[in-house]
């Protein structure tokens, strides 16, 4: 603590700290863990954070964080608060918060999310819908020049 800076100079460092804190926080609250070489079938629901290292098929629901680790495979529709995916997911993902696709992630399905972060190398095939877009607003019409005779320059001889 003695060597800790009173105020971090670079904003990036601050962000890193926040990320680390949030990761630590999520690790402290770990409640459900699907270990490797374990397969879960059915409606898999939990009130707390979920870490998947094995195989899950059916549906996954949590109001908190879902972490799909490298080597894990989910063949299910996912509903969660937020998620970090490093494994394979086949199914639609619907999240209230953020989604982070790490470099090893493979996602096959539609995504509905508030905040999306995709690392280079991640594979994604599906429709992405991001919350926060006001669909009632009409899209701005851009003027297009028609190739009509009126639009064409007229030369009076």
């Amino acid at each position: 603590m003695i060597f800790q800076r009173s105020a971090p100079k670079v904003i990036e460092e601050e962000n890193d700290q926040i990320n680390n804190q949030s990761q630590q926080h999520s690790q402290d609250e770990v409640e459900t863990v699907v270990g490797p070489s374990v397969s879960v079938e059915g409606d898999f629901a939990s009130e707390g954070n979920i870490i998947v290292k094995g195989t899950v098929s059916g549906s996954v629901f949590t109001s908190k964080h879902l972490a799909v680790e490298v080597g894990a495979k989910i063949v299910a529709n996912i509903r969660a608060g937020s998620a970090t995916i490093a494994g394979e997911v086949k199914g639609n993902i619907k999240l209230k918060g953020s989604l982070e696709l790490l470099a090893t992630a493979k996602v096959l399905g539609d995504i509905e999310v508030k905040d999306l972060r995709v690392e280079s190398g991640a594979l994604l095939y599906g429709k992405v819908v991001m919350l926060g877009m006001d669909l009632s607003e009409k899209p701005i019409k851009t003027k297009t020049f028609k190739k009509t005779e009126e639009a064409a320059p007229q030369f009076v001889g």
């Binding site: 770990v30 409640e31 459900t32 863990v33 699907v34 270990g35 490797p36 070489s37 374990v38 397969s39 879960v40 079938e41 059915g42 409606d43 898999f44 629901a45 939990s46 009130e47 707390g48 290292k53 094995g54 059916g58």
Partner: protein, 254 residues
């Protein structure tokens, strides 16, 4: 009125001094009472119900984890307050309850800090600390919602009060601990995979909090609940909320 149930092992000479000094302290506090000795075939529920009819309000278990399990597996639903005086080795539940081992436990007992504890219900009896299903080919269904299976054998450990200690392998020096949360039972599944010709290797455990669980095996499997070993073919485990009124210490782990 207090009733003290002593385990049979406390007759051994090496425990006599500590038992004597405990009795002196209990008399000083004015909470000394009738002493009963637990035998191997004593039906603790019948004995405790008898004593309740005679006016007992607090039943104190004196012994170790095995004593605690033997008495409370049958009599957790008795209409009285339970106390615990841990003596001797194999006392892990006492630490969870915040009760010091030895004479200092009498002080905790005299303070009467009471808590309602959740207990687990297994087929036809209660378990308070931990239940362990020995490695075998099993299928686990949680809350009638999802099924957990492994390719080979698996070991299931259900923790109520006692934390779950585990190591990655035999060489792993760091002991990992998972403390069970209140209001739920914690199920730990450790799959075993073949290693070499004969041996099996433990995999990383899976953790599932639950309220109801059914374990079925193709063959009969061994179950150890609070130190008592039985054989079952189907096991239904439930959580009984606030079933047990217990005197606990300030340093309890829940």
């Amino acid at each position: 009125m207090y009733v003290y149930i002593y385990d049979n092992f406390l007759r051994q000479k090496n425990f006599l001094p500590i038992i004597r000094s405990m009795e002196v302290v209990l008399t000083d506090y004015g909470i000394a009472g009738k002493i009963l000795r637990l035998q191997n075939y004593t039906d603790s529920k019948a004995v405790i119900e008898d004593e309740i009819k005679r006016g007992a309000k607090t039943v104190v278990v004196v012994g170790n984890d095995a004593t605690f399990g033997q008495i409370l597996s049958r009599s957790a639903n008795c209409d009285c307050t339970f106390g615990f005086l841990p003596v001797g080795p194999n006392n892990t539940i006492a630490e969870v309850l915040g009760i010091p081992i030895g004479v200092e436990a009498c002080t905790v007992l005299s303070r009467r800090r009471k808590e309602f504890l959740d207990v687990g219900w297994m087929n036809n009896r209660y378990f308070v600390s931990q239940l362990r299903v020995m490695p075998s080919k099993l299928e686990v269904v949680y809350d009638e919602r999802f099924k957990v299976t492994t390719a080979d054998k698996m070991e299931v450990i259900i923790c109520n009060l006692q934390p779950f200690f585990w190591k990655r392998d035999k060489k792993d020096k760091e002991q990992r601990v998972v403390h069970p949360q209140d209001g739920k039972l914690e199920g730990f599944i450790r799959p075993l995979t073949k290693s070499g010709w004969w041996g099996y290797k433990y995999e990383e455990p899976s953790i599932f909090p639950f309220e109801e669980m059914t374990i079925t095996g193709k063959e009969a499997f061994a179950v150890e609940a609070d130190g008592k070993l039985t054989k079952e073919i189907k096991l239904k485990i439930k959580l009984a909320h606030s079933k047990l009124e217990m005197i606990v210490g300030r340093d309890r782990k829940f």
